[in-house]
């Protein structure tokens, strides 16, 4: 489809603004996820350029281009936001801000929040002033949010929250939390509410979780008689499950894409280096050769499937639960990749701390990949969803 004159003007204007305002340093590719800007009260900018870039984009609302202007967004249409994204990509501009506020809480507030809640929270997300974390999982409610036990007792104009969350990403670096709490102990799914509160409230404490792969962004978070004002309830009392489900779909899409890891080194190249080729030019380890080829086939077919499902979604032909397939297969594929990478790496890839091994990067990434099929809904839960919602198999 050819662009209209109007849209061409829009594109030109955006490009000009980006060229004028995006610092050169922010047009370098990110060397790792460490280079991203997450914002918040505790944020230490990596450079003056990172700070400037966030301020300029935040001012225009282009950190969240499609949100309404009155809530700090850019007020752009979907098509306009796409142009912005294309132009940023073509100039190599980094995202000015990444955050759970943008990806998760924002969409939920836009759908379920009151006007006051939107006015209060969305602009601060857009400008990166407040960093949010998510309080869903609990030690005794992994895949099963319905059995969650963190209590919010009704005290008239406020709740008193007591309990414990786990897997709270970046809780120790965040300012506010969006959190599921139980407001009716007699019910299950229908006794849960969705509340917001400041992590600086007395009674909130966090403890980082060490994973089998080493340091992680995850925390345990404890609530001891935490006071939460009632105006911080999102959606209806006892209907927090609807808000949570809405958020989970977003999270699943986000994690599903993990199977696709274009930056990881090629398996066959790694194996060629360690195992070598035989006289016929084949990998000397024929078992490993067979496993790598199967993996590469499955990976290529999976990438095409990501593309196809996206196209189906656009054409309204995709079953909504196909995201469970992508999450399931992507996670299992990534685990296979790192099993094979570890195997190809041999004993060098078993080192844990040396500079030579980049502090055990292969071993740690291999171990970390095991979490892919657990976080954001286990593989078993995804298979349940496919069986029930797509195949329409009956029962439990």
């Amino acid at each position: 489809m050819s662009e209209t004159t109007e849209s061409i003007d829009f594109r030109t204007a955006i490009r000009a603004w980006l060229e004028a305002n995006c610092p050169a340093e922010m047009r370098q590719p990110m060397s790792s996820t460490e280079d991203a800007c997450w914002g918040g009260r505790q944020w230490k900018f990596a450079s003056e350029a990172q700070k400037q870039w966030l301020e300029r984009m935040g001012e225009r609302g282009w950190t969240v281009p499609t949100w309404p202007k009155e809530y700090g967004g850019g007020g752009l249409s979907g098509a306009e936001a796409k142009v912005l994204a294309q132009e940023m990509a073509s100039l190599g501009c980094r995202p000015a801000l990444v955050s759970f506020g943008i990806w998760m809480l924002g969409p939920a507030l836009l759908k379920f929040g009151t006007h006051e809640q939107k006015l209060e929270h969305l602009p601060k997300i857009a400008r990166g002033e407040i960093r949010w974390c998510q309080g869903y999982s609990e030690p005794n409610a992994g895949s099963d949010l319905a059995s969650l036990a963190t209590r919010a007792e009704d005290r008239g104009d406020h709740f008193i929250v007591d309990g414990q969350k786990i897997w709270t990403s970046y809780a120790d670096e965040s300012d506010w939390i969006f959190c599921l709490v139980r407001t009716d102990t007699a019910k299950k799914h229908t006794g849960i509410s969705f509340v917001l509160f400041d992590m600086a409230t007395p009674g909130v404490s966090t403890r980082p979780i060490r994973l089998i792969s080493g340091k992680s962004p995850f925390c345990e978070t404890f609530f001891d008689k935490v006071r939460v004002e009632k105006h911080n309830l999102v959606g209806t009392l006892n209907a927090g499950w609807d808000v949570a489900k809405y958020l989970l779909t977003h999270e699943r899409d986000m994690i599903g894409a993990m199977g696709e890891a274009s930056t990881t080194p090629s398996l066959s190249r790694t194996a060629k280096a360690t195992v070598g080729l035989d006289a016929q030019g084949q990998l000397a380890d024929s078992q490993l050769r067979a496993q790598i080829t199967e993996f590469e086939l499955d990976e290529a077919a999976f990438r095409l499937t990501l593309q196809r499902v996206l196209e189906m979604a656009k054409a309204r032909q995709a079953h909504p639960a196909m995201s469970s397939m992508l999450k399931y297969y992507g996670a299992e594929l990534n685990k296979r990749r790192w099993e094979l990478m570890a195997s190809s790496g041999g004993s060098d890839a078993l080192e844990w701390e040396s500079d030579r091994s980049s502090h055990g990067i292969v071993a740690r990434t291999w171990l970390r990949s095991k979490g892919n099929s657990i976080e954001g809904g286990t593989s078993e839960v995804q298979l349940n969803v496919i069986a029930k919602r797509i195949l329409e198999l009956p029962g439990a």
Binding site: R289, D298, L304, M312, L383, I390, L393
Partner: protein, 379 residues
């Protein structure tokens, strides 16, 4: 290129589905088998393939065909997979037509393509000589004579060999088995002196034949493409046939999967519908994922064939390998989940398992194509 069907392709699929479900369902295959039918397919059906335009799907309009591509051919193949319909479509309309289009002179195309499109003639590819598909190992000898060539050797697993009018024979004019150079394709009249054809009854009750060539005399006009450079048109024809076989495997797998899921919803055991058991649910869900992921690569291979005649080998090998494995899993799970019923000949599931096995072997099994993929990547 988008990986979903266009509106036209969707219409083609629907009409192929309705037509084949009506005219060539599994009961027809059973009847052909049980009556030991001499032709091995319904000539009336084959005539209807022409009327529907299917047999000319890949033939250019100038030669009386529809001038469509491999995506469209695949759409028909998938529906054939659903019904296990018997016809020379794969051998004649896909593999032979592709060989003629890639290697044929104007005259050769003119003399064969219209007849193949109208289903008045049947052609097939004669490649394999041993039990496993290894096309570079071709040993059937083409010896130059003053007026052309003499062929000596044998072929096996030739689809529809006993009903074909035209055999496209891959022969070795130079080099040794193992070399891809030195292979030459020949157009051979199935009734030529010295050609002996034995129909082989196969596990899937579809047509295949063994043939021997004893001092078969050919003129120089029998050469398809260049002498000693038959590898390129042969590969093009094989790749087209492989992608088509992958599509049939996908359709077949879809069909058994659907039947199996329906069975899981009906069959009761231990007082519950067996589809309630999580063990079976998870296996069904895993199979669903395999099918969807295979669907993407099969369609991609067809698109690659349409986009670049010679460069589609990698995509085709991926599609054939993955479709073979997926269909094998699908039929295994189908028989197991159907329990004893799935083991009886009275039930149709067994027909799908048998056909899947033959298609898996045809033009290279998953192992062969995975090996090709590794070679292409230099390891």
């Amino acid at each position: 290129m988008s990986l979903i069907l266009t509106e036209e392709q969707t219409m083609l699929r629907d009409s192929a589905r309705d037509f084949l479900a009506d005219k060539a369902p599994v009961t027809q295959l059973r009847q052909l088998r049980d009556t030991k039918d001499a032709t091995g397919f319904s000539p009336a059906l084959w005539q209807q393939f022409a009327e529907m335009g299917f047999s000319g799907v890949l033939v250019p309009e100038e030669f009386g065909g529809m001038g469509l591509g491999h995506v469209e051919a695949g759409v028909v193949m998938e529906q054939i997979g659903h019904q296990l319909s018997c016809s020379p479509f794969l051998a004649s309309s896909i593999s032979a037509v592709t060989a003629l289009r890639h290697g044929g002179t104007e005259a050769q195309q003119q003399s064969w393509l219209p007849g193949l499109a109208s289903a008045e003639a049947i052609a097939t590819l004669a490649v394999d000589e041993k039990s496993k598909h290894q096309p570079a190992q071709i040993a059937l000898r083409a010896t130059p004579t003053p007026n052309g060539f003499t062929l000596n050797g044998a072929k096996t697993f030739v689809l529809d060999g006993h009903v074909a009018d035209l055999l496209i024979v891959a022969a070795r004019r130079a080099g040794e088995p193992g070399d891809s150079e030195g292979i030459t394709l020949f157009l051979v009249d199935a009734k030529a002196p010295g050609v002996e054809i034995e129909r082989t009854v196969m596990v899937d009750a579809h047509n295949a034949a063994r043939m021997t060539f004893k001092d078969v005399q050919l003129g120089t006009d029998a050469v398809l493409g260049q002498v000693d450079a038959g590898w390129a048109p042969l590969s093009a024809a094989l790749d087209a046939a492989r992608a088509a076989a992958a599509a049939e495997l996908l359709g077949l797998a879809d069909e058994v999967f659907e039947r199996t899921v329906n069975y899981l919803k009906e069959r009761k055991q231990f007082g519950r519908v067996i589809g309630e058991f999580q063990g079976l649910q998870h296996r069904a869900a895993e199979l669903y994922c395999e099918l969807e992921i295979t669907r993407s690569i099969v369609m991609h291979a067809q698109q690659e064939l349409d986009a670049r005649a010679d460069g589609a080998s990698r995509a085709v090998s991926m599609a054939k390998a993955r479709a073979g494995r997926t269909a094998t899993l699908a039929v295994q799970e189908a028989v197991q989940m159907h329990g004893g019923m799935g083991m009886t000949d009275e039930f149709e599931i067994g027909f799908f398992m048998k056909r899947a096995r033959v298609l898996q072997e045809l033009f290279g099994d998953a192992n062969f194509h995975l090996d090709q993929l590794a070679r292409q990547q230099g390891y």
